[in-house]
């Protein structure tokens, strides 16, 4: 069996591992992005639109405009989760080099971790905001978003795969310290939407994020396992 594997290897070995990573990531990303888009339209979009009427004081747009807007939202969700899928599967492949197998059930755990890293961790200090929230400097918030995500990724990787109490302690520090130093609410708050809308929006955004990441992780795990089972 081994000999057949080597004999059928393509001439350019870089494509050898790239093809299964791309297949897995893009299929899982499309499934997760479609899930995110549909859940967004059912549970989140109305809240966002009514916040916009508070922000601008004008009526909602016509249904034709909204249809285009919703189609774009689904398309962009698919792009975003293909991006997340590529990173998730690349990390699964990296981890797989140690010889551990990943399947759908393991993938579910990777999905929970991904949710914690890119949705929950930044939301702890920069919760999803409705249009019309108090404006603070955009670049500063974007830099903090990246710091929160990178530190959460490092912290959760250390928690999951660390082997010594020192590594776990480092994980806790890396997870908590950025939020002690991170952005504060401005002194004067001028958000235009009622707080009930904002609270529901933020909570729904987290819930949709978790469900989407469960789909991304479990589908990626299931396909990755099949890709690994057949000789590349």
């Amino acid at each position: 069996m081994q000999h057949t594997m080597y004999a059928t290897r393509p001439a350019f070995p870089a494509t050898n591992m790239l093809r299964p990573i791309l297949t897995t990531a893009l299929l899982a990303g499309a499934a997760a992005g479609a899930t995110a888009g549909l859940l967004h339209l059912v549970f989140v979009q109305d809240i966002l639109l009514s916040a916009e009427t508070f922000e601008t004081g004008s009526e909602q747009a016509t249904s034709a405009v909204l249809t285009v807007r919703n189609a774009l939202t689904i398309m962009i969700m698919v792009m975003l989760y293909c991006g997340y899928g590529l990173i998730l599967v690349a990390l699964m492949a990296f981890y797989g080099q140690t010889g551990d197998r990943i399947d759908a059930r393991r993938g579910l755990l990777w999905g929970v971790a991904g949710f914690a890293v890119v949705i929950l961790a930044p939301a702890f200090s920069l919760p999803a905001q409705l249009p019309g929230a108090t404006e603070t400097d955009l670049a500063t918030r974007q830099i903090w978003w990246m710091i929160f995500v990178v530190s959460a990724a490092l912290g959760i990787w250390l928690l999951a795969f660390g082997k010594t109490p020192g590594q776990w302690a480092a994980a806790v520090l890396v997870l908590v310290v950025p939020h002690l130093l991170g952005p504060q609410l401005p002194d004067i708050l001028t958000g235009s939407a009622p707080m009930e809308l904002a609270a529901l929006f933020t909570a729904r955004s987290l819930g949709v994020g978790l469900l989407t990441w469960l789909v991304l992780g479990s589908v990626a795990g299931a396909i990755w396992r099949r890709e690994q089972a057949e000789p590349a």
């Binding site: 070995p13 990296f94 905001q129």
Partner: protein, 56 residues
């Protein structure tokens, strides 16, 4: 010996593939979440708000 050489080249190609996938992924996320060009911002506006990217 042959097997050893092949398994080493396999690891190197795996690492290269992992880095390529990471790069593609980061490029997609950066354009959806961070690009400030008007058309991209407008198309991605609702997704940015709902997925927690700082938007405006």
């Amino acid at each position: 010996m042959t097997t050893l050489v092949q398994s080493q080249s396999r690891d190197a190609s795996g690492t290269r593939a992992i880095f390529m996938a990471l790069t593609f992924g980061l490029a997609l996320i950066a354009s959806v979440g961070f690009a400030s060009a008007g058309a991209i911002h407008d198309a991605a506006h609702d997704v940015r708000h709902a997925t927690g990217f700082p938007c405006h």
